[in-house]
Subunit: 467 residues, 3 copies
């Protein structure tokens, strides 16, 4: 199977001992750390009966579970089915797309519960978790799934696990800086999840640049049914994005408003994506790559501002613009990034997450800076931006400045972190494949000898037709 | 690519300027109209803190978001994944099925928020929206997705957008007449969504009759995996239908009851569909077309009565009958409609929505007419039918009469509207394809040159075997 | 089509009259029994307005619908999409997997509403149903879906309906013994659903042993895209399992805790499954069979204990172990069971449900036996185990003993019931196929003559290449 002619040496992609070692080592570490640190929060603990009285709650019906869990499940679907299937568009990398996304997300949520727990839910030496922690862990892993999109098909599962370990760590630090030190609002994660995740991933793929990648060019496309599988991912991301952006907003009107703004932005985004997809092709045909990806930019671009008083028409404007930017990005920027900047971005996360994420951060800063007591109401104003305690004297324009600072911090963290992690992943010990073997499930998966691959072989120039 | 021998002239299906123009024009119109009219309702507005006190609510936990949003998300999945994937059964029209459904629904929900808003949520010159408006917008678009089923594969995306514009408008007018003027109950939309949507679509496809459609007969079938993709749509529609029928019912027992009735009706429907699917084939084999569609008739047929005291066994009876009617329809009525009435109904919406919708309207009228204070309780009776204010003197039998009138109005609106809109869609400017090019994604989509289509070509009589 | 050379007689698989007869007969029976017995429970009844006052509820918002329905919908998806698509992995049995699962589940939930209703919701001669009954009916059917996994591809739909009738009956009896007589806790059904369902199915498939099954060996594998369809099932089961295990837990902390424990267990399970899948293959490649199935063992294995104070790290440990056991089972036990014990287990339910179910029962017994007032709080302790009334004097260790007894009872019911039902299914009247026709949709379904099957024929030794 190994044909080392294009490389100085044959790459060893047999992970028989390395992958199990990493998986088991890390799971043992998780068990030990969870044993030392993680306990149920009050509302998930059997002591709740006593605590409830202290918290002045009158019934089990007021448990936060009932106000967060439906949104949590929607987010959960986005991470595992949404991202997983969105990446199945490649003709022979569906197992890797769904399977490795499953692996890294399952590990990532455990590590995220710890990292985010230490920063946000640490009390008397214990991390106390509840449904909100589960949502945040999924969010954190979302940024890793985004980065995975840039390096899809070019990395081994071990590299993905190593990247997940570091990226979750950096995500949590960045999030802590933004939310706690800068007191920035970012409920849907335009900055913390999308901008950070995408530029992190783009930096990693830049460091891992493969000059000979055109050797696997025939496998970088889709087939008819792989494009339909990808649409499952697209639609679940699109439909549940209102839940994503509202999942950890304040209860009540903020959560309600986040869902509406996101719904509007996404609807508008579909129309401008279709318009530009058709307009930018000579024959006016629609391109599935755009429909699968750019239609989602509207969700990213209102990630920061959805819980603010962006208003429905503001959401339509933001969604419209982000659909255009994203589609134009697929047509013009992605080839440019690859040829000039040597950034090989398999899924085009620069168009779906990076640029819309920046738009989201900027829109959030502007919306915050433009806030007035008239628009939010006296109490609503204070509540929406949490201008209490030490932040009592923040004005909207100062808040807008801090929001903008949050974008810059996220970018810096992404570039620095991505460069370091990229360098680590470049070590020749992780079992990645040679360039001509990329985008091919056969390397890491037992692939059925099915009719399809027979036909595939028939039409593939350098393989014999018989099995 | 164009072979104009069967038609007087070659049809121009290049939409490079037309589709973008329509999409962008309409999105700009949406932005302007939303800017002028649409604002957040009280429970989504930051002023909520003040309004809450006026409404005598004690906490953010009582926000309607928590009582409607899970149902909304289920309905959302039905519209985008349910309808979208249900229509992927055609062997070479999966992109169009999922993609055009996505396009028209994304546009439709924006226009529906406006149209329904003007009729139902207009206050002091503004449309005030909340989660219930999102559900209603999805419902309205559901009727367009149904009509799309009749013309699937035979129309251009521009035609679909034009149809959506008109159909949403007419839907809203019809809904206003039924709910507000006739004071009819129709929570699950047997009349407003299914009867209206299906007969509208059937009228449109009648007007657009294509005499030479047998030229694309080889593409009107399914392939093995396209039938499995369609089952994703079927199952999501089936599973979430209890949410559909209960989504906008009154809080409490009405919503609870709607879900139970729908669950029962759908379960029964599966058994009678399977029975008749097997019975009506010479070899007793099951037909995927029936399983994909007729199993859903039970949801349609309790759309009006689900929130009434239909009772679980009543639901089983209605579900059983509708499964039989729908399956028989696929075997006998669809060919008849095509050959005799020149109604080319791609997905068989006459069997899945039109007939079961009529059954639903009739069952609703009977159930309403049979209501007694004994069955509903004194308070429950008034609450269930909202017999307050000017409707204080309505008796059940009068209500039954008005329910029946609702069916007739919906039918008239559908026929008249469908005829006019069909005539508009017949104009030769919308970029629809010639008959021999129907049911083929290649016209409006960049389709990957994959192995499958190679094989397809191999077996297709009039195409060369080599790519 | 029938080539009876390998069997003494040609099997008649034409179900034209038999399948409709069974379906219609049973649906009529359901209608009659529902008519006699089933009514709406208080919270779904229009009389609720009056009853609410008696129950001292202040508003419609406290209707149990709002606290159970989102979980119900997740469970519903698991039963119909989860189990249905998980079984589509076979190359030519996707219609049967999804379609027969749909059929048996739709029938099963009706019969389960009755059986479980008589045991648990019977009052004044009527079964009063609400959303919790719907969840329990889905649960009960889950055990039938599990058993279906063992006999997938080898039985006729009539056999499946007969099995469903008996298995639902036995399930309900077993559940009554465990929950009511032994006062055992089993919210996620490790014992009642998984252990019972799996050993029942394994016993049935043992009785139905087919010595010539290797004649259809070429159809027992997957193709590339069928493995991706199966991953849809896997992921929905995995994502929604926290809802499954918490759906009928007590409101408040118990439900909250169940979700967290299950989330943790499943995450850990993915890592150990991946580790062992790679480790047990010579070339270190991952096997889709393991990823599709063993990753779910963690949900099964905390089914009993999830609502207890298992703690997050306890869940990680249980999940890790079950992933290992399940993967090892696929590699070593399944071949052993087939060759030595003549247990032909198509989907490997022994690895996914039987062994993890036993682990779940044992972990539950241990966790119960180890409970202290210190860990649960004084009130929480009594509430968690419902140590009230006649169970006031139960100690944790006695409870642990009863939990263990629950495992034994479930096993005995499964073996005895499976043997009897297997014997009934062996009767030559149900229309099952000959061994060489197994795992082939063509027997019971109209299958499209598509390119794929053409190619399939091309490579299949004993079929002509032309259609």
């Amino acid at each position: 199977m190994d044909r080392p002619r294009h490389q100085g040496m044959a790459k060893n992609t047999n992970l028989r001992w390395r992958l199990p070692l990493v998986c088991l080592l890390w799971e043992v570490a998780m068990i030990v750390l969870f044993g030392v640190f993680v306990r149920f929060g009050a509302e998930a603990d059997a002591h709740w009966e006593e605590e409830k009285r202290e918290m002045n709650l009158t019934s089990d019906m007021e448990n936060d579970f009932y106000f967060r869990y439906p949104s949590f499940q929607d987010v959960h679907v986005m991470i595992f089915v949404g991202f997983g299937f969105l990446m199945t568009f490649l003709k022979r990398y569906g197992f890797g797309a769904v399977g490795f996304n499953f692996l890294l997300a399952a590990f990532g949520i455990q590590w995220a519960l710890l990292m985010q727990g230490w920063f946000h839910s640490f009390k008397d030496g214990k991390i106390l978790i509840g449904v909100e922690n589960l949502i945040n862990a999924d969010f954190c892993v979302g940024s890793v799934c985004i980065a995975f999109g840039a390096i899809l098909g070019k990395t081994s599962p071990i590299q993905l696990l190593v990247m997940t370990l570091f990226q979750v760590t950096l995500f949590s630090v960045n999030e802590y800086i933004l939310l706690n030190l800068l007191h920035v609002k970012d409920a849907g994660g335009s900055m913390t999840i999308h901008t950070f995740g995408a530029y992190f991933g783009l930096t990693v793929t830049r460091v891992l640049y493969r000059p000979n990648l055109e050797q696997s060019k025939d496998k970088q496309g889709s087939v008819y049914h792989s494009d339909l599988f990808a649409m499952i991912g697209t639609l679940y991301l699109w439909m549940y994005w209102p839940s994503f952006n509202s999942a950890i907003s304040d209860h009540g009107d903020a959560q309600h408003r986040s869902a509406i703004n996101t719904y509007c932005s996404l609807a508008a985004c579909v129309l401008t994506t279709m318009a530009f997809s058709s307009m930018l092709q000579k024959k006016g045909k629609l391109d599935m790559v755009h429909i699968q990806n750019a239609t989602l930019a509207g969700g990213v671009a209102v990630g920061t501002s959805a819980e603010m008083m962006l208003t429905p028409y503001g959401s339509l404007i933001v969604g419209s613009i982000s659909g255009i930017v994203s589609t134009v990005g697929y047509v013009y920027f992605t080839p440019f990034l690859e040829s000039r900047l040597h950034i090989q971005d398999t899924c085009g996360i620069h168009n779906l997450h990076a640029m819309p994420g920046l738009i989201g951060g900027i829109v959030g800063a502007i919306t915050a800076a433009a806030a007035t007591e008239d628009v939010y109401g006296k109490e609503g104003f204070i509540k929406a931006f949490d201008f209490t305690g030490v932040y009592q004297r923040r004005t909207p324009s100062i808040q807008g400045g801090f929001q903008a600072a949050g974008i810059v911090v996220s970018l810096l963290m992404a570039f620095a972190g991505g460069a370091i992690v990229g360098a680590i992943l470049k070590l020749p010990i992780w079992g990645d494949a040679a360039a001509e073997k990329c985008f091919e499930d056969d390397i890491y998966w037992e692939v059925p000898e099915d009719e399809e691959s027979d036909v595939y072989r028939m039409h593939s120039p350098d393989k014999p037709a018989s099995p």
